[in-house]
């Protein structure tokens, strides 16, 4: 093929047949993937993105999984990846949710129009019956011109038939008018499938071939396709009764505020119990303190102290307080990894059960005050786990403006789980009044910052437009796989940045810059914040690791240097403060350096200003 094929970098032998799984989100693609490939699976990051592609072997072919999409185009990262994998497929196994034919067949027809041989797995056949639907499968197959195999993936029904049908895959009945349009541009592209995307005005494919957008007929083609799909659906589906099952009702309850808000609180409480209590305290207690803090630490020190002195510069760099072989891995694997995995586990359950889009719809109105839409709830929830990974997920937001607002709010006002633990420990003994003072201050800052940013930021935010999938019981295997993939991606993203951070801090410490900043801050600390001079040191520590700062404060409290009100003031400063070094580095990686600097310096100013004002009022 040509240099335009992005999946060529993915180390697949040239003549190997590529079977690609395609389908809408949550239709059960992964179950088919697992059934076809067994255990010979290779998961790799798609070039230039954080989207993971699973690859495995089936007989002599390579099987590739794609992210769930509603169509082949370039509206987001997932779609761009799915598009490139689908474009260069030899056979497509299109997994279709039988209950949502009018949604899913749009993608099906689009792939048919590309001319790629295909087999359809008509999945969720068990739900078809339960919902009082009847589908004429034979007719559907005739209309589309490809084989349609009824399946129920969770019960492994229909897998053998799918395997047999893959060898008989053929290209289906494309829309004649679309085909005509494609022949006009076929000479400019490498494969037939690309011709479709050229006439559908796909910017990336146009760019790849240095084409102008002169063939643009996207709307016309989409309309033709929609008409055709609706007509097919009309002919093959008959409803036997109105089946409002319990799941449908539950879905409604989750949306309607009167029932939805209590359900959300219950869900958040369970999340807190699992992540904030079980993982953050019990699991991390073992992984950070015992496994990494003792066994790993002793192991590394035991070896390295033979070669370098702990007090030399190289020694500090490798195994010092902020060393790349000591602090970085202990923090990354002992503390962050369990928290991140825990959060992704919960998030995957919410995603796969169909609850997440309903939360997004429920809070949409609230978030529009901050120039965000309901989807931004995902990074915000994640932020309470770890701001670093939450910053990465701001990618799913629709515009640059929203990504900036969300990142700023995350960096500023969302305390991560590492911090929450220490903050809770410090504030609990001081009583409810002090807790309220703290919580209300943070809340006001969050609301004010969001509202002001929404007012002053140029541009427009995108509106909510999301599919609400049916409520389902998630499949544990898929949830675990997703958790694993996302946690791994996180470690690969944040890990190197964290090592870099460790290096910077060691150098600052070694050269005395750390103490210098601490001393320079003293007038602010003592004069404006009315705190003892020693607190400045903990602020610096707070940049390195958010909970370091808070932990430093507990030492000061134990020494009797902070009274309850001073404790609250310093906790406010620490919370609003710039996020930890890993988060800062991820922000710099995700946003432009101007935006990042603005977020960084902005949160500095806001945190000291807020803490200062609070100090002037209460102290």
């Amino acid at each position: 093929m040509s240099c335009h094929n992005p999946i060529e970098n993915m180390s697949i032998p040239k003549d190997t047949k590529k079977i690609v799984l395609a389908g809408n989100p949550n239709v059960g693609k992964s179950v088919f993937f697992n059934a076809l490939t067994g255990i010979y699976v290779d998961v790799s990051n798609f070039p230039g993105t954080t989207v993971d592609i699973s690859m495995g072997k089936y007989k002599d072919s390579v099987v590739m999984d794609t992210p769930g999409v509603y169509g082949v185009s370039s509206f987001n990262d997932e779609e761009r990846v799915a598009r490139d994998v689908i474009l260069f497929a030899d056979v497509i196994l299109n997994v279709v949710d039988a209950v949502h034919l009018e949604r899913d067949l749009f993608l099906t027809q689009q792939i048919i129009d590309m001319g790629i041989p295909m087999v359809i797995a008509l999945n969720m056949m068990d739900e078809v019956k339960r919902n009082g639907l009847k589908i004429d499968i034979k007719k559907l197959s005739e209309k589309l011109g490809v084989e349609v195999i009824p399946t129920t993936a969770v019960k492994k029904e229909g897998f053998e038939e799918i395997k047999a049908a893959l060898d008989r895959a053929k290209s289906g009945n494309s829309i004649p008018k679309v085909k005509d349009l494609m022949t006009q541009v076929i000479d400019y592209v490498d494969v037939e499938a690309e011709a479709l995307l050229v006439v559908e005005e796909d910017e990336n494919v146009l760019k790849r071939h240095d084409l102008e957008n002169n063939y643009g007929k996207r709307e016309q083609i989409y309309k033709l396709r929609r008409d055709r799909v609706d007509k097919v659906v009309e002919e093959v589906i008959s409803e036997t009764n109105e089946g409002a099952s319990f799941k449908t009702k539950l879905g409604r309850w989750m949306l309607s505020p009167i029932t939805g808000i209590p359900i959300l609180f219950i869900a958040l409480f369970i999340t807190y119990q699992l992540i904030g209590v079980f993982v953050a305290q019990t699991v991390v207690g073992i992984t950070e303190e015992v496994i990494m803090g003792q066994y790993y630490y002793d192991f590394v020190m035991g070896i390295l102290t033979n070669f370098v002195s702990e007090t030399s510069f190289v020694g500090k760099l490798l195994i010092g307080e902020f060393g790349i072989l000591t602090m970085a891995p202990v923090y990354l694997f002992g503390l962050l990894l369990p928290l991140v995995a825990g959060f992704y586990f919960i998030l995957s359950i919410m995603e796969d059960s169909g609850y997440l889009p309903r939360i997004a719809a429920l809070v949409d109105r609230l978030l529009t005050f901050f120039g965000l839409n309901g989807r931004a709830i995902i990074p915000i929830i994640l932020g309470f786990g770890c701001v670093t990974m939450a910053t990465i997920t701001t990618r799913l937001l629709g515009s640059k403006r929203e990504r900036f607002i969300a990142t700023m709010l995350l960096g500023l006002a969302i305390p991560c789980s590492a911090q929450l633990g220490v903050i809770a420990g410090l504030i609990a003994p001081l009583g409810a009044k002090m807790f309220l003072l703290y919580a209300i201050t943070i809340f006001i800052v969050f609301v004010l910052t969001g509202t002001i940013l929404n007012k002053i930021m140029p541009g427009e935010s995108t509106d909510l437009l999301i599919d609400l999938p049916p409520i389902r019981v998630p499949i544990l295997k898929n949830v675990l796989k997703k958790t694993y993939l996302k946690s791994k991606a996180f470690i690969f993203e944040a890990g190197p940045l964290f090592v870099l951070g460790a290096i910077i801090i060691t150098i600052m410490d070694h050269t005395g810059v750390l103490t210098m900043i601490s001393d320079a801050l003293a007038p602010v600390t003592v004069g404006f914040l009315k705190l003892p001079k020693e607190t400045a040191q903990t602020f610096i520590m707070g940049i390195i690791r958010r909970d370091f700062g808070a932990a430093g404060l507990s030492t000061l409290v134990q020494q009797g240097l902070l009274n309850p009100l001073q404790t609250v003031v310093s906790l406010v400063a620490i919370t609003l403060f710039v996020p930890c070094i890993a988060a800062i580095m991820v922000i710099f990686k995700e946003r432009s350096w101007q935006e990042s600097a603005l977020i960084w310096i902005g949160s500095f100013i806001i945190s000291f200003l807020t803490a200062g004002i609070l100090a002037q009022i209460v102290l």
């Binding site: 509603y70 169509g71 185009s73 509206f75 209950v99 949502h100 009018e102 949604r103 749009f106 993608l107 919902n131 639907l133 996207r218 709307e219 989409y222 309309k223 929609r226 609706d230 589906i237 409803e239 879905g251 409604r252 949306l255 309607s256 505020p257 889009p357 997004a360 719809a361 429920l362 949409d364 109105r365 529009t368 839409n373 309901g374 509106d463 909510l464 437009l465 999301i466 599919d467 609400l468 049916p470």
Partner: protein, 73 residues
């Protein structure tokens, strides 16, 4: 009238969607000019939920204000 004015349980037909990028994304979910749908839920000052058979789609209130519809029996 616009989509934000529809009541829960009412049927409607989409008349016009102004933004071309929204049009392209919405059509894939079955929302397009001429589509006949039901408003299955309406959150107070929040998104309007449209339903077509088993398919449900949430549309933010601001976007709903821009979508022209007509109410049908």
């Amino acid at each position: 009238m616009t989509l934000d004015l529809i009541g829960k349980g009412q049927k409607l037909e989409i008349v016009h969607i102004p933004d071309s990028s929204i049009r392209a994304q919405a059509i894939r979910l079955g929302i397009y000019e001429g589509a006949r749908l039901t408003c299955s839920e309406k959150l107070p000052a929040g998104p309007v939920i449209l339903q077509n058979r088993m398919q449900e789609i949430a549309i933010g209130r601001n976007l709903a204000k821009k979508i022209a519809i007509k109410s049908i029996a």
